[in-house]
Amino acid sequence: MSRTARNLIGQIFFYLLVGVILIYTIFPFYWAFISSITPNNQLFATPVQYWPQNPTGQNYALVLSNNNFLIALMNSAIVSVSVTVLALIIGSLAAYALGRFKFGGRSVVLYTVLAMTMFPQIAVLGSLYTMISAFRLYNTLWALIITYMIFTLPFTVWVLTNFFKAMPRELEEAAYVDGATPFQTFYKILLPLAAPGMVTTGLLAFIAAWNEYLFALSFTQTPDKRTVTIAITAFEGVTASSFEQPWGQIMAASVLVTIPLIILTLIFQKRIIAGLTAGAVKG
């Protein structure tokens, strides 16, 4: 076989592989979308249809008029934004200290923070439950905002510390010579420079909070306090038959919940990749 022929076969095989990977990755989304626009009588029928005969927006209309689902979306937004902002404020202060100062006990704090990024939430579930009950926060969004710090804050501190550490020393020295206090140096000079790092960690914290399930399941009870991950598993469709879950609506809700995350991911993909690898591989 000639060299060019072999190259061609290699190329074809390679793009076949690329195609298979893409189909594998995207097909479940395609299927969720197709199911969400398929009328119920075709959805619960065999043989399975790969493209609906008469697509419908009915499932979306039902989901968007479902108050419980809308409240859950709002709750998730409130919790995720609050958690992100809190983690960034508290975390950037700590990261500044860990990234720019030498002091006794620094490495102990760093090791603790790193270990905390892998903390199993289940290990503190019972204790947090009793704390939340003691402070009368059970079934409130506060319970989630406070407890979500356990998986967002250590990660934020760890990644931001690496960002602060990478900044040139001369910046602060120039500021100190100009008579700036350490705190002024922090928020006037270093913080603006850390903005890309803040966006990255903020996004990752937001996504982690938006996707959380265990605490939301354990610390909330009534539909008006549910987050979207709970709502999507507790879907009681309006037109569900007695035997089937309203899969069309569940898929419509899935698509609606996923779209904002996909848009965020597409816009910030470079930053997210940088943040993920900084969080896990940095050594």
């Binding site: 019972g126 010579v177 100009d178 991911t265 990749i273 050594g283």
Partner: protein
């Protein structure tokens, strides 16, 4: 804005002066750390200590009954609790299957993306999407695809490709089938993440190493085993440990797809069920501590492996 220009030259630093500067810097650093330390103590370390305390008692959740100290009774019970060992077995099985598949598939995808081809950026974006969506949502999407009558997977396997004669009830009775079905969801969702971590490792391997190997006449396969794999080893180890830790605490995907089913329970689901559903704060805490110890073992390995450099 106090942008004063320093008109006087900086005073010459004496030994005493540097010491006070270091001290004041140290104090400032600790002040900055206070909020983080408070939060970590409040939602992490204190609850952990309290969980350990509960594990030595017969405490009940949301109950006014007096709490009795029972010593190691819960731990002795744990060692004979067959359900606990079943959940450990399920979790370990799940971890081995998912981490194994995710590593092999992730490495394949990373190698594909790392080779320069048209549409590379598109592919990198596409594989980020499963990572970004909530596990709960992906679990629901797959639960519908697994449906034993109307599910697309059954249709593909039976009608389109003819691999099986009849529909499979993936999530119904057979424990092994259910565990593999769940593992497939996790593999789909997490392989991209693994691929991205490995890709980051691949991209720091200098290309001149390969050029030298080309000159020496090494073929692609030889290059892979002699260059890529050894140089990628640090990234591989970190990825594997990271994924193992994640898999060992798996909760969402099992809970959404199979609920509290006894035969497929994972460690985290058993603990959550004991704590919240059975209100058994004492024994639930014991299970939690056991999970914590298993995971802590891996964290210690991980942290020592990373070896934070001393500044």
């Amino acid at each position: 804005m106090s942008q004063r220009v320093a008109t006087t030259s900086a005073p010459p630093s004496t030994g005493k002066r540097t010491l006070t500067l270091a001290q004041s810097q140290s104090r400032f650093a600790w002040i900055l750390l206070i909020p983080t330390i408070v939060v970590v103590l409040m939602v992490g370390l204190f609850p952990l200590a309290q969980t350990f305390y509960f594990s030595l008692t017969d405490a009940r959740l949301a109950s006014n009954r007096p709490v009795n100290f029972v010593g190691l009774e819960n731990y002795l019970y744990l060692l004979q609790d067959q359900q606990f060992f079943r959940t450990v077995g399920n979790t370990v099985f799940f971890t081995v299957v998912t981490v194994g598949f995710e590593f092999v598939l992730g490495l394949l995808i990373a190698l594909v993306i790392n080779s320069n081809f048209r549409g590379r950026g598109l592919m990198r974006t596409a594989i980020l999407i499963p990572w970004a969506i909530p596990t709960v949502v992906s679990a629901q999407m797959w639960k519908w695809m697994y449906h034993d009558i109307y599910g697309v997977i059954n249709d593909l396997l039976v009608n389109q490709f003819g691999i099986f004669n009849q529909n499979v009830a993936f999530l119904a009775t057979n424990t092994t089938v259910s565990l593999f079905a769940i593992a497939a969801v996790d593999i789909w969702k997490t392989t991209p993440f693994v691929a991205l971590l490995l890709l980051a490792g691949l991209q720091v391997i200098p290309s001149d190493v390969y050029e030298a190997a080309d000159v020496d006449g090494a073929n692609k396969l030889q290059q892979f085993f002699a260059i890529t794999l050894p140089l990628l080893m640090p990234a591989i180890l970190v990825t594997l440990i990271f994924r193992t830790l994640d898999s060992l605490r798996v909760f969402d995907v099992f809970y959404v797809m199979l609920g509290n089913r006894r035969d497929t329970q994972t460690m985290a689901i058993y603990a959550q069920q004991s704590l919240v559903n059975f209100s058994d704060l004492g024994y639930g805490s014991t299970i939690s501590i056991a999970i914590f110890l298993i995971i802590a073992l891996f964290v210690v390995v991980y942290v020592t492996f990373l070896k934070i450099e001393e500044a």
